[in-house]
């Protein structure tokens, strides 16, 4: 296991460096003067010059990057132009909201997807399988904003079961928190659930065709036992990869869902910061998101090793298809 980590770590660090440089460049390459963007059209030229100096915008690019990276490594992502708060604090204040709905959504998606996929795979090409596949196909095709608005209109407005918008903090009121979290989580879960089901079904079908399963069947082991004890684990690789990618991509889903449900999360912060030209926050967010993406994928790689001992021994080179083959 240590060998696996040892092989992966340098790649992770190199990727993070690339990401940080691209993030930094991203804001430098935007059209227009960032200082003017920040201050707006009515600001005086002196004020613009002051901001340029404050941001070291007149320094050469490499020295600006080194300065910024040095600060970022020490946890200093600068201060927001909008609120004058440290960027890291601003993000930390909102991260729990996004994490909560993101993880809740992934959990809901997995809870629904795994059994659905198992049923589908066990009865391939049956009516039930086709129904499940059609339904997931439809769910996958629906953009999350349509799902979100549908949920708001039906569950919040017509049935009046849950609030349409708003957020209650977990620390303030657990029940109230769940009430405000459930619709956004469902809106995010719908698409994920569809993807998970389809991928898991495909892998399960491959596994179920293998000799070991035929052997198990011939021994008279019950269907449920075969499905969940023998077939599920070797069919988890693709799902694990996709779940990893999805967790890394929580933010992209959060941008839409948090705006629609008026949640004070990181996705909303990103949208507001972009529209209000809060350069420092955009930069900090892009860096953190990219970094979390890289780290989640690193963890997924390690999880492969836990699922399949041969991955550990190969030092991270997994041979798909040969597993149990």
């Amino acid at each position: 296991m240590l060998r696996l980590i040892g092989r992966r770590l340098p790649v992770v660090v190199a990727t993070l460096l690339c990401v940080s440089f691209l993030t930094f460049m991203l804001t430098s390459l935007l059209p227009g003067d960032p200082a003017r963007s920040i201050l707006g059209e009515q600001a005086s030229d002196e004020a613009v010059a002051a901001v340029r100096e404050d941001l070291h915008l007149d320094d050469p690019l490499p020295s600006r990057y080194v300065r910024w990276l040095g600060d970022a490594v020490q946890g200093d992502l600068g201060r927001s132009f909008r609120t004058n708060e440290p960027v890291l604090d601003t993000i930390a204040e909102r991260a729990p909201v996004t994490l909560e709905i993101g993880l809740l959504a992934t959990a809901i998606a997995l809870l629904v997807a795994v059994p659905l996929a198992a049923i589908s795979a066990w009865r391939v090409d049956s009516k039930l399988d086709r129904t499940i596949m059609t339904a997931t196909f439809g769910m996958q095709a629906l953009p999350s904003f349509v799902v979100a608005l549908g949920l708001i209109v039906i569950v919040a407005v017509r049935l009046d079961w849950l609030p349409a918008t708003g957020w209650v903090r977990l620390t303030d009121d657990l029940g109230g928190n769940l009430k405000t979290a459930i619709l956004p989580a469902l809106a995010m879960a719908a698409g994920e659930c569809a993807v998970f089901t389809r991928i898991q079904r495909a892998d399960l079908i491959t596994t179920l065709e293998q000799d070991s399963i035929t052997m198990a069947r011939s021994k008279g082991i019950s269907s449920t036992r075969i499905l969940f004890r023998h077939a599920l684990r070797p069919s988890m690789f693709s799902l694990l990869t996709v779940v990893g990618v999805q967790i890394g991509a929580i933010l992209s889903g959060a941008v839409v869902v948090e705006t629609l449900f008026a949640l004070p999360g990181v996705g909303r912060l990103l949208v507001d910061s972009i529209s209000q030209r809060d350069l420092m926050v955009v930069q900090g967010l892009a860096l953190l998101v990219a970094a979390s993406f890289v780290i989640v994928n690193f963890l997924v790689d390690i999880a492969y090793g836990l699922l399949d001992p041969r991955v550990r021994e190969n030092g991270g080179r997994r041979r798909r298809g040969s597993a149990y083959g």
């Binding site: 935007l30 059209p31 227009g32 003067d33 003017r36 963007s37 059209e41 009515q42 600001a43 005086s44 030229d45 909008r82 609120t83 004058n84 204040e93 909102r94 608005l149 549908g150 708001i152 209109v153 039906i154 919040a156 407005v157 017509r158 009046d160 609030p163 349409a164 918008t165 708003g166 957020w167 903090r169 705006t259 629609l260 449900f261 008026a262 949640l263 004070p264 909303r268 912060l269 949208v271 507001d272 209000q276 030209r277």
Partner: protein
């Protein structure tokens, strides 16, 4: 004269009540852009009300609210859906959008405020006077007013607000249009201060009706240090309780409010909900009882709702096109007029989803504003393709035409607008109308920052732009049309007559005389057409049945206020049903 008199008594909003039945599915359909039927129904109704105005009813309501004879219920709590969050609540630090200014009216009181006729009067202050050369503005304060933290509102507090917060280097109210024009503030006595200006300005009082006039406790701000923006302490009808950024801000009744009997409500929760659709659904679901909307297409949507009252305000800014009058071909008024005559603004309004809510504009001032000029409205070149062709033919066949092209060659120019789906449609519509009269137009999409930079440096020919302002007319006119070199003078247009009018407005303290002068400037704009106007900004406050008093506020002396322009509501006067 009669017509302008009528204008001044007209209130700048209208009230509508509709009982149409809608289903949720229809709302989703409308969100996708298909709302023809609904637009039509608003059209017949809304247009009529805008033109007729509404003189008696709202002011009588205002009086009843003021007298309390109608006995609005005390108590109750409401949630208010806003368009946007505010970054900081400390004046000088916070960028107060209209949404932010509305919240501020719960926590703070403005020193001065506009009345029903558009005139500025003391609200929190007891009085304001100016010396003859318009350089010294003396403000009197009311005795026994304290901030929520117990600090008395006195001359010392006003000076500290000015010196330590509003006029500092980092203050966003430190510019020349705001507190930057104040040289210093002098204490006259315990309750009197004098703002000494570096130059005469007859419209300085306008500044004190905005964020620069929101009285906040300097003691509390000192104590909170960098967190002052998140812990506002004012003199207002409600006391700040809690704020979770981008989620909600809660205020509770100020038991020691200086206006006896006010406020009515126990608490208000302000909730920024950025998405239009969710905001509407939150109102329908009852998550919020009051909703503010700042766009015409949202105004059209809320007009469809059942069981609510809409308070619509037509503002003093418009969308439109700025023309660079310093360069050919727009240095020639014939081309500018042709451009205006060529476009059917009704179609622009239709494309923008604002049909039935607004009428084509002829000037930046809204039709019910005291500064609205009926003469300018008649002079402004409206849709008439034949006249457009005539003006163009005159220019094109002029051997001395300013663009130096050969006689008969068509006029050509580039039109820039910011990337945005609606902007794109509107730009294409403009292009179609201009092409129809024989003008070659090249469309170009630009990023916002570049757009502004090009306008400031006058590195453009024609651009889509928002023009006008709800501030005192002088502030906007002076920076836009006085000095062609001013970066803010995007069109570069000015004239001796215009300059002389602006010079007079600058030193004219009398409201009625100022108004006459402003009307003259609007006539010049309509004749010279340095910019094309499409339609005025629309704001709507929608209140669920049972929530009243949105526009019924009065000054402490009983004078009716100016309602809820740009969704800025005086929350002290809002109450639930009796």
């Amino acid at each position: 004269m009669t017509s302008s008199k009528a204008d001044t008594t007209r209130r700048p909003w209208r009230r509508t009540r509709r009982w149409s039945v809608i289903v949720a599915a229809a709302l989703v359909a409308a969100a996708c852009g298909s709302g023809d039927d609904s637009d039509e129904s608003v059209s017949s109704d809304g247009a009529a009300e805008t033109i007729d105005g509404d003189n008696a009813e709202p002011s009588s309501e205002a009086t009843t609210a003021g007298n309390g004879s109608d006995d609005p219920a005390r108590g109750g709590s409401i949630s208010v859906g806003l368009e946007a969050e505010t970054d900081s609540w400390l004046p000088g630090e916070g960028q107060y959008s209209f949404s932010g200014q509305s919240v501020a009216m719960a926590i703070y009181d403005p020193l001065l405020k506009r009345d029903v006729n558009g005139e500025i009067r003391p609200y929190l202050a007891a009085g304001i006077e100016v010396n003859d050369d318009l350089t010294e503005w003396t403000l009197t304060l009311r005795p026994d007013v304290t901030f929520h933290d117990g600090t008395p509102l006195n001359a010392d507090a006003v000076v500290r607000m000015f010196e330590d917060y509003l006029s500092t280097e980092t203050s966003n109210l430190g510019g020349d249009g705001q507190m930057g024009q104040v040289d210093h503030v002098e204490i006259v006595d315990e309750l009197t201060v004098t703002y000494v200006l570096s130059e005469p300005n007859a419209a300085f009082s306008d500044v004190l009706s905005g964020p620069a006039g929101y009285a906040f406790s300097p003691d509390a701000a000192d104590a909170a240090g960098p967190d002052a923006g998140a812990q506002p302490v004012g003199t207002g009808p409600f006391v700040f309780e809690s704020w979770q950024r981008d989620s909600q801000l809660t205020v509770v009744r100020n038991e020691d409010y200086w206006q006896p009997g006010l406020p009515y409500l126990d608490s208000i929760t302000f909730r920024p909900i950025p998405d239009v659709e969710s905001r509407l659904q939150s109102l329908i679901a009852g998550d919020v009882q009051v909703l503010s909307s700042l766009t015409a297409d949202t105004a059209a949507r809320v007009a469809e709702l059942d069981g609510v009252t809409d308070h619509v305000h037509i503002g003093n800014s418009t969308g439109g096109v700025i023309l660079n009058t310093l360069n050919p071909p727009f240095d020639d008024v014939r081309v500018r007029k042709a451009l205006a005559h060529a476009v059917d603004v009704d179609a622009i309004i239709e494309v923008s989803g604002a049909a039935g809510i607004v009428e084509p504009a002829t000037q930046t001032y809204g039709p019910s504003d005291p500064y609205y000029s009926t003469e300018a409205a008649e002079l402004y070149p409206t849709y008439d393709p034949e006249q457009a062709e005539e003006h163009l033919a005159e220019y094109v066949n002029d051997p001395d035409r300013s663009d130096g092209k050969a006689v008969g060659e068509p006029v050509s120019f580039r039109y820039d607008c910011v990337t945005d789906p609606i902007n794109r449609e509107v730009s294409q519509l403009f292009q179609a109308y201009w092409s129809a009269v024989g003008i070659d137009v090249e469309l170009r999409e630009v990023e916002q920052a570049t757009h502004i930079e090009e306008a400031r440096s006058k590195d453009y020919e024609a651009k889509c732009y928002r023009m006008g302002s709800d501030d005192d007319p002088y502030r906007d006119l002076a920076r836009t049309f006085y000095d062609s070199d001013d970066p803010y003078a995007y069109t570069g247009f000015t004239s001796d007559e215009l300059k002389s009018l602006l010079d007079q407005i600058r030193v004219e303290p009398e409201f009625e005389a100022r108004r006459e002068l402003v009307l003259e400037t609007s006539k010049i704009m309509a004749e010279e057409v340095p910019q094309l106007v499409t339609y005025n900004t629309v704001s709507t406050v929608t209140a669920q049945d049972g929530v009243s008093g949105i526009t019924d506020w009065v000054f402490p002396d009983g004078t009716a206020g100016n309602g809820a322009p740009n969704t800025i509501v005086m929350w002290a006067f809002v109450h639930t049903a009796t």
